[in-house]
Subunit: 213 residues, 2 copies
């Protein structure tokens, strides 16, 4: 039975899963478009499957799982034989600890300000939610500057955030990182040479190039 | 070699790990106090171990791992034989997917507004960061109301957030949930009977009662 991914290719969290499928070499899936612009994610038929009314949702032969990072981990475990480094082997306890640490770093120290930069400078005015608040933009930039200084220390000692292999923890940065890059994020990244090199390397992967519109 | 946990019993993220150790029945560990009030987490000797200057940090015979939720998962996997339900067995792919989904729900829809309520109403005035901003408090309450309405749907069908077993995904809610409860969170929780029942049940566990001051 083919995997069904409910999502939208242009939507950041769907892109996170699409890039993971590409890393795993899984091409046998169906992308069922849920159009965010038409609020299809709030339709009762979709809410019956995904109670939060958000994208994406994976249907694996009737088994449903949502939250993009959880879907990525589920897929990396399901197809572990296809790519053994995207998520460490689960009998390698030390690698697993470093991987979960790196996943938590992404969510705690990158996601909020990177998404915030994109939201404040692009989504807010585009969707008519009001004008960009420069004080909020600066708050996110300060936060990223502080946090990427620590990324620099980590990435000066290892190639990727969880060690010397590219993992989901790196991949998770791409959707909002790439959106926020031209919106003042890249200038902060460029202050930190190891971070700049890492961010360029992860964007250059075929999996990501295939997934972004 | 005994586990060393660098942290502070009064600190929320340290409590998350202490409750996990208690669920696992691990008592053979040393808690090395890093005093937040004296900024000991910013001392060079600690920063050499934990580059973010945050609590807690686990030292397992020279292997270091930080970020509280990552430490909890590492411990749950290390001591899986002691408690097989706190985190699902990793060869149970479907349970693993639901578990990661639940962990993501906690971080995406609970942590930010619950921590925010506590910070805005308690930490901010207590630490001299300024007066409580009621607009921010109301924003967090609105967010919690919206999100706990979905928790209610989920918890009306299953006992815990990842299924019918108590897992780390439930436990993760405790430190900031308990701090925010008297600060207007409990009133929102009480609107949702299944959520209220669940929140009471998870607080009543011995592991939590042993861990909170």
């Amino acid at each position: 039975m083919v995997l069904k991914l409910y999502g939208m290719r242009e939507a950041t969290c769907t892109q996170r899963v699409l890039a993971t499928l590409a890393e795993l070499g899984v091409t046998d899936f169906e992308l069922i478009k849920i159009n965010l612009y038409e609020q299809e994610q709030k339709q009762p038929s979709y809410l019956a499957l995904q109670p939060w009314g958000k994208l994406p949702l994976l249907d694996d032969d009737g088994y449903l799982v949502y939250e993009s990072r959880a879907i990525c981990k589920y897929l990396a475990l399901k197809f572990h034989e296809k790519n053994k480094t995207l998520m460490p082997s689960l009998d390698d306890l030390k690698a697993y600890g470093q991987f979960e640490q790196a996943c938590s770093i992404e969510l705690s120290y990158f996601e909020v300000p990177a998404f915030g930069l994109w939201f404040e400078q692009f989504i807010k005015p585009m969707r008519g939610f009001g004008a960009t608040d420069e004080a909020i933009v600066n708050q996110h930039l300060t936060s990223l500057d502080t946090n990427l200084a620590v990324y620099e220390k980590i990435l000066s000692k290892q190639k990727y955030l969880a060690g010397d292999e590219f993992t989901l923890a790196d991949l998770y940065h791409l959707p909002h990182g790439v959106k926020a890059a031209p919106l003042k994020l890249q200038a902060v990244i460029d202050k930190y040479p190891h971070v700049a090199d890492w961010f360029q390397r992860i964007q250059e992967r075929d999996s990501w190039k295939q997934s972004v519109v």
